[in-house]
């Protein structure tokens, strides 16, 4: 199994979720993150003090899927999350050795 870790624009979360569930994948874990990359941040001024904020808000979506659907998932996410502007984000694919469903103790793909 693979962990498909997608870092996308926050306002794209719903679209990505829709695209992934459309593939009959009904599980993902999301967290709020801050990204640093090509996309430029902005300047903030508080009374005298000026700060440049290089970190921009992103959401990280972790989806663990069976090897055979990785490709489809990636394509679906790319399609849903793309706006064409710098900052659209990245997808990282890593290997997952095992998955356990806590409720049942099932493991492997059965646990997904």
């Amino acid at each position: 199994m693979k962990l498909v870790k997608c870092i996308v624009q926050p306002y794209k979360l719903d679209d990505v979720k829709a695209a992934v569930t459309a593939l009959n994948i009904h599980g993902m874990t999301v967290s709020e993150v801050r990204g640093f990359g090509r996309q430029k941040g902005h300047k903030e001024v508080y009374r005298g003090a000026e700060y440049t904020v290089d970190f921009v808000p992103k959401v990280e979506i972790e989806i663990v899927v069976a090897d055979n659907v990785v490709k489809q998932v990636i394509d679906a996410v790319v399609k849903a999350a793309r706006s064409g502007k710098v900052g659209d984000g990245k997808i990282f694919v890593t290997d997952v050795e095992d998955v356990i469903r806590i409720r049942t103790g099932e493991s492997g793909e059965a646990a997904l």
Binding site: Y11, D14, H42, K43, E44, V45, V53
Partner: protein, 438 residues
């Protein structure tokens, strides 16, 4: 900086004359000033001033995090901008010597001649300046109410321009018509105790114009846009409610029986509207919400405003129930019409203000306020007609004038921020700051 310094010097010319005026004031006898009445008006002015920061929080909690400061700023800066306009020209336009019942003259510009002695036409037992500053707080909050309609998407420069022009060509004249000495609606005998027409109908219908003209927020009905901090909204509602006692009971312009009746009817309508709202919501949606209770209380307060000093407690209870039912329906119907009155400035203030003005025509009784009139239930259908006609007219004027203003401002500075700024939020795009740190 130049500009600011320019203003400074420009103002120096006023100074001596101003002081002159002041001295003129001092000579006049202060005999007629009542300390209790004055204390009540000053307290009421402070209470009404607090309503605008209250509104800032009420609205601020409803928007998304990225827009919290921009939303709060709409109310906060209105205090500053409108107060300055009020002192320089607004008060004179609204309450100054009448010109054909349409507008006040500029004789009182810069408060010249607005003395510490009472003005018998407006408030015979308190300093004229106390009446002026009390009224200033009403002028301040009215345009701020509108900002709920175009929340999360208006350019700050456009907002400033709109507020300044709107208060001058909509608020000041309408205030003169209804409250100004010689104002033509006043002559007509319209009843508007604390601003159902002047404050709520004008702002509410201008809000409708705004929502229609500026268009929907990006992602409206597609992305979820839940309030980011409802406790902030509840706090705002609490401060508004608290301040509303000054708004309505203070409009008696004296401390005593009339202030007491207005105080009681205000609270009564607020509570019956709140209860009505949550029960209707419970039946309709399956659950009563805190947000609904807060909204209902404000609907009740807005609705009783024009009637507060003309009706008794039980009519007020009924008016509150009507407010809950009608405003709830308006808010829920909204989505069907599909315009984006983001924070329901029209649904609450436009609908509530109009309903209340009409209700005053139904339940008003000279037994409650001898300087008022009898309404429908006391055998005077004519009053109902006057009320309905007046509010309709003021509402239409506000709606049209606002549309015109938006058109003009849009062509000058542009009304709306661009898509990327909207995604980024008002706080960063318009003000270069963030409401919170993680």
């Amino acid at each position: 900086m130049k500009r600011a310094f320019g203003m400074t010097s420009a103002l120096f010319v006023f100074l001596i004359s101003a002081a002159g005026a002041a001295s003129a004031q001092d000579v006049a006898p202060a005999a007629r000033i009542d300390t209790g009445d004055t204390a009540w008006i000053l307290v009421s002015a402070a209470l009404v001033m607090l309503m605008t920061p209250g509104l800032a929080l009420f609205y601020g909690g409803m928007v998304r995090r990225k827009n919290v400061l921009g939303t709060i700023m709409h109310s906060f800066i209105a205090i500053a901008l409108v107060s300055v306009q009020w002192i320089l020209i607004g008060y004179s336009l609204a309450f100054g010597p009448d010109i054909k019942g349409i507008i006040g003259s500029l004789d009182w510009a810069g408060l010249s001649g607005v003395a510490l002695t009472p003005n018998a036409d407006y408030a015979p037992t308190v300093p004229h300046l106390a009446f002026m500053i009390y009224q200033a707080m009403f002028a301040v909050i009215t345009p701020a109410l509108i900002s709920g309609a175009f929340a999360e998407r208006m350019k700050f420069s456009a907002y400033l321009l709109f507020t300044l022009l709107w208060t001058t060509i909509v608020y000041d004249p309408v205030a003169h018509w209804v409250w100004g000495n010689g104002g033509w609606l006043k002559q007509l005998g319209v009843l508007d105790f604390a601003g159902g027409i002047v404050v709520h109908a004008t702002s509410g219908f201008s809000a409708l114009a705004a929502a229609l003209f500026i268009g929907k927020r990006k992602g409206f009905l597609h992305e979820p846009m839940p309030p980011h901090d409802l406790p902030m909204t509840v706090l705002g509602a609490g401060l508004l409610w608290f301040g509303w006692f000054g708004f309505n009971a203070g409009s008696a312009l004296s401390s005593g029986q009339l202030a007491t009746m207005a105080f009681v009817t205000t609270h009564t309508a607020a509570v019956s509207a709140t209860l009505t709202w949550i029960f209707v919501e419970w039946l309709h949606r399956g659950k009563p919400t805190m947000f609904g209770a807060a909204t209902g209380s404000i609907a009740g307060l807005a609705t009783i405003t024009p009637a507060a000093g003309f009706v008794g407690p039980l009519p007020a209870l009924v008016i509150g129930i009507a407010a809950g039912l009608l405003c709830y329906t308006a808010l829920n119907a909204k989505t069907r019409f599909g315009y984006d009155d983001s924070l329901d400035a029209f649904g609450v203030h436009g609908v509530g203000g109009t309903l209340g003005t009409v209700m005053a025509g139904v339940f008003a009784s000279i037994a409650i306020n001898s300087s008022g009139a009898n309404g429908l239930v006391f055998g005077n259908p004519k009053q109902l007609a006057i009320q309905a006609g007046s509010v309709l007219l003021a509402a239409s004027y506000s709606f049209v004038a606002s549309l015109v203003l938006f058109k003009i401002i849009d062509s000058i500075v542009g009304l709306r921020i661009d898509g990327e700024q909207e995604t980024e939020g008002l706080d960063i795009s318009q003000h270069g700051e963030s409401g919170y740190t993680i």
